[in-house]
């Protein structure tokens, strides 16, 4: 009883319509979920064997992993990281000017609207599909993978970029305008300084995403983790897959740690995460 009164005092907006919407939403969502479970073609009995099967495969992979494959796994993972790096750098170089052009405060709508659509379309297409398209031009090399990641990066970086540029505080922008600055001066002195830390952190985040995505591109032949994975799964060399798994996990965790530290340095000025105020 007490909580009901509290809730009514705490919120000043009308409660009724929201609850109605919420109830319908809950009903619709539950219906969709039930329908999905009901209709999906799965032999649920397979789940019963799952723990035993999993144990069997994990012991095949990790007890012990094939240490002779370490250098191959390490090389494949490094190649994937290189692919991710080049993809990110190219993505940054292309997306940065585009996201200035896609900001409503910096460009007319004739320019912003098609660019935003382009970003949305790219974001909807998986990197594998982009890679399949690029493949016909460059052939099957790691460079194809890097290009596919670059195109994929333009979709997300472009969107995050214009959102960051649009949410910049109006004060500095007005100051530049009032002293007679043109659009370039506005970008350089009014927009970029405030948005830069956020944009840097998006770049790092996209690099982390690209490291994971580069694994997929190997599957269609771009080399790296994906290729080694496919080769070894095909021939059921589970101890080699286990080795690959270890290298991927350790290397990715290292990259995440480094990029987390760089992110903290750029945003908070310290390498370590700031302590919570508690």
């Amino acid at each position: 009883m007490a909580t009901v009164i509290d809730e009514k005092q705490g919120t000043s907006r009308p409660v009724k319509p929201t609850t109605k919407l919420r109830t319908t939403l809950w009903l619709v969502v539950s219906l969709i979920v039930v329908a999905a479970f009901w209709s999906v073609k799965i032999q649920w009995s397979a789940l019963a064997d799952f723990p035993a099967q999993l144990f069997k495969y994990i012991s095949a992979m990790l007890l012990p992993p094939d240490w002779s494959k370490f250098s191959e796994a390490f090389g494949a993972t490094i190649l994937s990281v290189q692919m991710a790096w080049i993809g990110t750098v190219l993505g940054i170089v292309i997306s940065l000017p585009l996201s200035f052009l896609a900001s409503k405060s910096l460009a007319p709508q004739v320019v912003t609207a098609p660019l935003r659509l382009l970003f949305a379309v790219i974001r909807a297409v998986p990197e594998v599909v982009i890679a399949i398209l690029i493949l016909s031009v460059t052939g099957l090399t790691p460079f194809t993978g890097a290009l596919a990641l670059a195109v994929g990066s333009i979709g997300t970086l472009g969107k995050w970029g214009y959102e960051a540029f649009e949410s910049v505080d109006a004060g500095p922008k007005e100051a530049v305008r009032s002293t007679g600055g043109g659009t370039l001066a506005l970008i350089r002195w009014g927009v970029w300084p405030s948005a830069a830390p956020e944009v840097f952190s998006f770049w790092l985040y996209r690099f982390e995403i690209n490291v994971r995505a580069s694994a997929i591109l190997g599957l269609i032949g771009a080399g790296g983790i994906g290729k080694m994975l496919q080769d070894n799964v095909q021939f059921r060399n589970w101890d080699a897959v286990g080795m690959l798994l270890i290298v991927v996990v350790v290397l990715t965790m290292c990259i995440d740690q480094i990029s987390g530290a760089v992110r903290n340095k750029l945003i908070h000025g310290t390498w370590r995460a700031p302590k919570l105020a508690s």
């Binding site: 999905a36 999906v40 073609k41 190649l79 790096w85 909807a124 994975l229």
Partner: protein, 268 residues
């Protein structure tokens, strides 16, 4: 003495030169990494210039989707949706308690916090395609292995996002509940859960979108959904059919994006 005073009277920014040296070093380092990576992936601009004509025919094929192929894509399309729904629901159900264990604001035991975070980092660092490839071997080809791979992938994302939201929340209400004699689970349920619920829901919608996209990928190794279809048509270079599948994913994601942004506005 006199030198000390001159230093003091100079404009107060002694950091500037050091800063310059530092950013120069950073630029050099980044350039070096880029060069190293460039050699690694064999950057070859000449090949693009030479072969760009090859792409035009493919692009033309892609711009003419084969709509007659649509009936054949329906089962895969439905399977993708089923996989995404189930994986989001199961993934979030598992993630919510884990997120509470992975946040500094809601988990008072340092060793448990460190342990949970370590396992979560490990799960997150494995690409979903690796999970899928292994699970296809363990449980067999089809939707079940896909759902399990997506669930693992979702746990990684949701736990990170939700625990970060929890980190930023005010713990005052939780402390009040604890002071009033509530148990830890009850205090979290009453004080922390309501605070994060709106952002949790918007993160779920985001995860659902990701799942639709991911299902195009994990199908490549046999884990069900549109990916299997993509793999089939691409190995026979049927670009007209490929473009129809791309279009379906595109429409699906755009529709979901607009639904979820509408919902976010309504709920958050």
């Amino acid at each position: 003495m006199s030198s000390a005073t001159t230093v003091k009277t100079e404009p107060g920014r002694p950091t500037k030169p050091r800063h310059g040296a530092k950013s120069a070093a950073a630029v050099v380092l980044l350039l070096a990494i880029t060069l190293w990576a460039g050699f690694g992936v064999q950057v070859d601009v000449a090949a693009i210039v030479q072969n760009w004509r090859n792409a035009t025919s493919n692009v033309i094929a892609l711009l003419q989707p084969d709509y007659g192929f649509f009936p054949k894509t329906i089962p895969a399309l439905v399977e993708t949706l089923q996989m995404a729904v189930i994986a989001t629901v199961v993934g979030s159900a598992i993630s919510l308690p884990l997120a509470f264990l992975a946040s500094r604001a809601t988990n008072p035991k340092p060793w448990l916090l460190a342990g949970v975070r370590f396992v979560m980092n490990m799960i997150r660092s494995v690409p979903e395609i690796l999970f899928a490839a292994i699970l296809v071997a363990v449980v067999g080809v089809g939707a079940l292995s896909g759902i399990m791979a997506l669930v693992l992938f979702n746990i990684g994302i949701i736990v990170k996002l939700v625990s970060e939201t929890l980190d930023g929340e005010d713990t005052g209400a939780q402390e009040a509940a604890l002071a009033a004699g509530a148990s830890w689970p009850k205090a979290k349920r009453a004080a922390m859960l309501p605070q994060i619920l709106p952002s949790f829901i918007s993160q779920l919608l985001y995860t659902f979108e990701l799942n639709i996209r991911a299902s195009a990928v994990i199908g490549l190794v046999g884990a069900g959904g549109l990916g299997i279809l993509i793999d089939n048509v691409r190995s026979f270079f049927r670009y007209h059919e490929l473009s129809l599948i791309i279009m379906e994913i595109l429409i699906l994601v755009l529709v979901l994006e607009s639904i979820s942004s509408w919902l976010r506005k309504k709920l958050v």
